[in-house]
């Protein structure tokens, strides 16, 4: 379905700034109810124009990852994926849509098309969080944040955008009731006063709308980092919210993701119980969890995907389309990193040498050995703090340059 401006006839798209539909040509704003009167409900018709059913007439296949390159005689079935062919109502071009895309753009004229009949009743989302952050705001947020990063290479700070996509990501929302009784142990005190105690906790609780990404193509780690979404901003699903953005329908049904949702609830519930135990190194010895899914809802959440290249590798920065939260792990300037370590290391070494010398001033041999062991433990402790942090940075960088995320953005109509 394409929403047209009643004044000039150009396509309407959802405007995050005003929360209304906006004409891409004359800028006129429309409320949702106004569209009921004069939108042109003209399905992007199939090749032979089956306008009664609204379903595409010709279903063809093309090799995965080949975009619009159509091959009707692909070598093997495994290399193929299903897609539908629509005709753009603005310019007449053929649009190829994969299995899960419900909203896309014409690759030729840029007309936003909402593929109405792909969001059938079975998969129609119940809710949507509309975009609140516009494309300009998203780009500005990224530029502003990147300019603050001391270790971010200059080439990345002055990045050239390869592509920006506003995409509605499908999510399942789970209401889960949790109950657990746990027998735990924890450590209290330190040194010679260190003691291990045992505890018992029995608790219940309810989590509402735990989000689980319903798209197989997007890494769960990426979608979870976009959290939290403010679910008080959920609106009843209406097709016009999709206009002007890309959107995927779910390709992982709720039943397939039940275990993921339950596992997530279990981990969060256990962490909450552990908070009530005043001890360290808390471990669960025995437990009897009973977690139950009470309700499942289907919703679409907004996100901006911005891709740029650095040293021939694509990096995709994500922006929560509702809150503006940025998600990115960026490569660092190695020279700056080494210089910083060297300068700080030298400074701390001066203090370290004085401290070590003072500790070793004891006369007894045994005291000296104890001092050496203590100093070694101190250094090792500092390393055990630094190494996991570095590991976390590396993981985030790998996630940002993940081909899976890049392809999630790239494999869309209207691509560059």
């Amino acid at each position: 379905m394409i929403y047209d401006c009643s004044g000039c006839g150009a396509a309407l798209t959802f405007d995050p700034d005003s929360g209304k539909m906006k004409c891409s040509s004359c800028g006129k704003l429309y409320e949702s109810y106004e569209l009921e009167h004069f939108n042109r409900e003209e399905e992007a018709s199939a090749l032979s124009g089956n306008r009664e059913t609204g379903m595409p007439d010709r279903k063809i296949s093309y090799p995965q990852g080949r975009g619009g390159s159509v091959r009707e005689n692909a070598e093997s079935f495994d290399e193929q994926m299903e897609c539908y062919v629509y005709i753009c109502t603005a310019c007449g071009a053929e649009i190829y849509v994969n299995d899960v895309e419900v909203s896309t753009f014409c690759a030729y004229c840029g007309q936003p098309n909402v593929i109405f009949d792909r969001a059938g009743s079975a998969r129609r989302p119940q809710y949507v969080i509309p975009f609140s952050v516009s494309q300009d705001q998203a780009v500005s947020l990224i530029r502003k944040r990147l300019s603050k990063g001391f270790f971010i290479p200059k080439e990345i700070r002055d990045f050239e955008i390869e592509r920006v996509r506003g995409i509605y990501i499908p999510f399942w929302l789970y209401d889960i009731h949790c109950y657990d009784r746990e027998y735990l142990k924890g450590v209290v005190g330190s040194g010679k006063y260190k003691r291990t105690y045992h505890y018992y906790r029995e608790a219940e609780g309810d989590f509402r709308r735990i989000t689980v990404d319903a798209s197989i193509r997007l890494a769960d780690e990426s979608s979870q980092r976009l959290e939290p979404y403010d679910v008080s901003g959920l609106k009843e699903f209406r097709m016009e919210y999709l206009s002007g953005f890309y959107a995927d329908n779910c390709d992982a049904m709720a039943s397939l993701l039940n275990d993921d949702a339950l596992y997530r609830a279990k981990r969060m519930f256990e962490a909450e119980i552990a908070k009530t135990v005043k001890a360290q190194d808390i471990q669960i010895i025995k437990q009897d969890p009973k977690h139950e899914i009470q309700k499942t809802e289907y919703a679409m959440f907004p996100a901006w995907f911005l891709t740029f290249r650095y040293q021939e590798l694509p990096y995709t920065v994500l922006v929560n389309g509702q809150t503006g939260k940025l998600v990115a792990g960026l490569p660092y300037d190695k020279k700056k990193m080494h210089a910083c370590t060297g300068i700080l290391g030298s400074l701390f070494s001066v203090g370290g040498i004085a401290f070590s010398y003072a500790m070793m001033q004891s006369e007894g041999g045994w005291e000296l050995v104890k001092a050496i062991i203590a100093l070694f433990v101190l250094g090792a402790f500092a390393l055990t703090i630094g190494l996991p942090i570095m590991d976390g940075v590396k993981t985030s960088t790998e996630l940002t340059s993940l081909a899976q995320t890049n392809n999630y953005v790239k494999d869309r109509q209207g691509g560059d």
Binding site: M268, T276, K286, T341, I343, L344, V350, I389
Partner: protein, 61 residues
């Protein structure tokens, strides 16, 4: 001998601490938005305690 050992261990501690501080600064600079939704995001009161016993000697179940 003591001075030599003090230099060795002093540098080890100094560079280990320097590395830890640099890693922290690096994560602040380059690792953006590395957080996920927590229990508080999905519930105002995540747990209601039904029974809590401390310093017990054996499992009650």
């Amino acid at each position: 001998m003591i001075l030599f050992l003090a230099i060795i261990f002093g540098c080890f501690i100094g560079f280990a601490v320097g590395f830890a501080v640099t890693a922290f600064l690096l994560s602040r600079s380059n690792d953006i938005g590395n957080s996920k939704g927590t229990a508080e995001d999905f519930s105002d009161t995540p747990i209601r305690m039904l029974d809590a016993r401390n310093k017990i000697s054996k499992s009650p179940f």
